[in-house]
């Protein structure tokens, strides 16, 4: 099992689109994926669960990944989060 702390860096936080991207990515792996925040645990493969976290920019999450491909899954998910979910939109004009 891999446990790793990450911080949400993208401006808009973990709202619907980033959550959808993360769930989609996580679902490609066999490993179970959970997120801990506020002492609360959600299924990282459930977009509704992820959205209930309402994690904003700066929020710290602990990822828990457990399964046969946990290493690859952890790497990919962490990269997506650190990458700000590729968020390139919405600089106020």
């Amino acid at each position: 099992m891999i446990k790793e702390k990450v911080t949400i860096v993208n401006k808009a936080g973990l709202h619907a689109r980033p959550a959808a991207a993360m769930v989609k990515l996580a679902s490609r792996y066999k490993s179970d994926f959970f997120i801990h925040m506020y002492g609360y645990k959600v299924n990282g493969k459930s977009i509704l669960g992820v959205m209930t976290l309402a994690a904003e920019q700066g929020a710290e999450l602990e990822l828990e990944i457990d399964g046969p491909d946990e290493k690859e899954a952890a790497e990919a998910i962490i990269e997506l989060i650190n990458d700000g979910f590729g968020e390139v939109y919405e600089e106020d004009e």
Partner: protein, 567 residues
């Protein structure tokens, strides 16, 4: 009755006048009773059918959308419907608590919404709306209560809050504008309104309470104001603003519709400089014939790593898709290496330093990833994509880039990818030695693109950001024009296209002078296109040639300035 001004946040620009239509989403009724065991299966089936119908509705909306943000938002809604936990929990509610399908959906979504609202603050506030929207639609569907929304045509919609789906549905009915009590400028409704160019003001507290149905309102999406029952003076003022804006747009359209030629029939090509996907609509709006300079730095600056070939490929593909049948000229990553890699010491002179192709040739993986994405896109749209190499200052660099392109093309072919074997490779003319040796470079490349901003700065040794000396910076300097002429002549001699993609091209008088020198391809920021086209269309090529010779004879900036002013 006096007019009333309500303030909110300007979510989508534009001004519109119209009658207010109030829209209120009704929360569907939910049955309270319990169901007998024998009905459990039927309710589970109803729920599953509702899921698939709701998904199909969203897929239909997605199919009709070409805005990428709208598509992503709708896809997120699809993901909610496909959530494995949602399905499990609703079915469990039906099975174990004997709730009817509608109440089970309401119960399960209720838990999610409560949790989300408990956790959210600031920016994410209101985002539970997406969940509420999915819940309400599912409940309507399980109850076969297909309450099609009452959609007002040709009115300004006033609502407490709209879901993404509602905005998209209303946009299909020609609503003129949107006023919302809630939401910020980054709310989903606002993002969509912008992409669909519906003037919108959000966060106007109490709007839906203080505006009565059918009241005349003015919506000012530029300033984030809503004027209720405007006085005749205010109406007059806004009528004038609207007329003026319409006149401007009509003029742009008029210019756009003209053929691209001078009064005496000399042709020219005008393209757009862009960097972001959301600039694509402006290409059509200002009638650019393709993209003369696609900056790619934003891709990298938003990533911590360089191996996102797929993301780049998607971006290039989308630009090519939107600009058919015109060409798209993609400039390789043009930034200082210090911004990207952990270089210990800061460069003393970053503009004279490790940047553009100098950096790319050292960082082979970065170059390779970008070339892979570009060349794959070129294969998909053969004959339309061209590669522009920045910061070239030697022929060796040109040879090295050509070699890298050939290697990547070979690899792609081996992988079974389509390629465009003739993809043109051109260079930026921005380092003065390249302009001086233009003939030698013209032999080795497929086109030349003059970047006048950097060329001027290097030529005159002026940092335009340095206020003390910025007065020395002038793109009307005779020396710059003499260099441009040499480059134009070299291109002609070797029969390769020469274009200008710097700020100079967006100055109508300078554009005339460039055409007079035989440079027929100009690229600029899209909004500058109409004025330049207007100038080029209303004059003759012989006058432009005369202007060019006069400018070439001038010896000081003051002299050339005067020549341009009198043109």
């Amino acid at each position: 009755m006096q007019e009333m001004i309500l303030s909110g946040a300007p979510a989508s620009p534009g001004i519109t006048v119209g009658k207010a239509r109030l829209y209120k989403r009704r929360r569907p009724m939910v049955s309270g009773r319990h169901i007998p065991d024998m009905d459990v299966e039927q309710h589970i089936n109803r729920f599953n059918r509702a899921l698939s119908v709701a998904e199909q509705e969203l897929q239909d909306l997605i199919a009709g959308q070409d805005d990428e943000e709208a598509v992503e938002l709708l896809q997120a809604q699809v993901a909610m419907l496909n959530d494995p936990d949602l399905k499990k929990r609703v079915e469990l509610e039906i099975k174990q608590a004997n709730r009817p399908a509608d109440a089970a959906i309401d119960q399960v979504f209720g838990v999610y919404i409560d949790l989300m609202e408990e956790h959210q603050e600031g920016a994410l506030k209101r985002r539970s709306l997406d969940l509420a929207d999915a819940r309400d639609r599912l409940i309507q569907l399980v109850n076969d209560n297909d309450d099609t929304r009452e959609i007002p045509d040709d009115a300004i919609l006033v609502a407490h809050e709209l879901s993404p789906r509602e905005v998209i549905e209303f946009s299909e009915h020609d609503i003129r504008g949107i006023v919302m009590d809630r939401g910020g400028i980054t709310s989903h409704a606002a993002i969509l309104a912008r992409s669909m160019q519906i003037p919108t003001v959000v966060g106007v507290e109490e709007a839906s309470k203080s505006i009565a149905a059918n009241e005349l309102i003015i919506l000012d999406g530029n300033q984030g104001k809503v004027i209720v029952k405007p006085s005749t003076d205010t109406q007059k003022k806004y009528d004038d603003i609207i007329t003026e804006a319409a006149r401007k747009q009509a003029k742009i359209q008029q210019v756009c519709d003209k053929p691209n030629e001078t009064v005496d029939g000399a042709g020219f090509t005008l393209r757009a400089n862009i960097e972001f996907e959301n600039e694509l609509p402006s290409i059509e709006r200002f009638c650019a014939q393709g993209v003369g300079l696609l900056r790619t730095e934003s891709i990298y600056l938003h990533c911590d790593h360089f191996d996102d070939e797929q993301k780049q490929y998607t971006f290039y593909g989308s630009v090519l898709e939107h600009t058919a049948p015109h060409p798209v000229i993609i400039r390789l990553f043009d930034a200082g290496g210090d911004k990207l890699f952990n270089v210990a010491e800061q460069e003393q002179n970053p503009f004279l330093g490790w940047r553009g192709i100098r950096m790319l040739l050292d960082k082979k993986t970065v170059l390779k990833q970008q070339l892979r994405a570009i060349l794959k896109a070129a294969g998909r749209y053969p004959g339309r994509l061209r590669i522009l190499v920045p910061m070239i200052s030697s022929l060796d660099e040109v040879a090295a880039v050509r070699k890298a392109v050939a290697i990547v093309q070979g690899e792609l072919q081996k992988e079974g990818e389509e390629i465009d074997p003739n993809v043109p490779i051109g260079i930026m003319v921005e380092v003065p030695n390249v302009a001086i040796q233009a003939r030698a470079f013209a032999k080795q490349v497929d086109f030349l693109s003059i970047g006048t901003n950097d060329l001027t700065q290097y030529l005159l040794a002026v940092d335009r950001g340095n206020e003390r000396i910025s007065g020395l910076y002038s793109q009307r300097h005779p020396a710059l024009w003499q260099l441009i002429k040499q480059v134009a002549d070299a291109g002609k001699e070797h029969s390769i296209p020469v274009s200008v993609c710097g700020e100079l091209a967006s100055d109508p008088a300078a554009a005339c002078c460039l055409l007079g020198m035989g440079i027929t391809e100009l690229s600029m920021t899209p909004s500058a296109l109409p004025a330049v086209k207007q100038a080029l269309c209303t004059r003759g090529i012989s006058d432009m040639q005369a202007l060019a010779s006069k400018v070439l004879e001038s010896t000081t900036v003051a002299e050339s300035e005067e020549i341009f002013t009198n043109f």
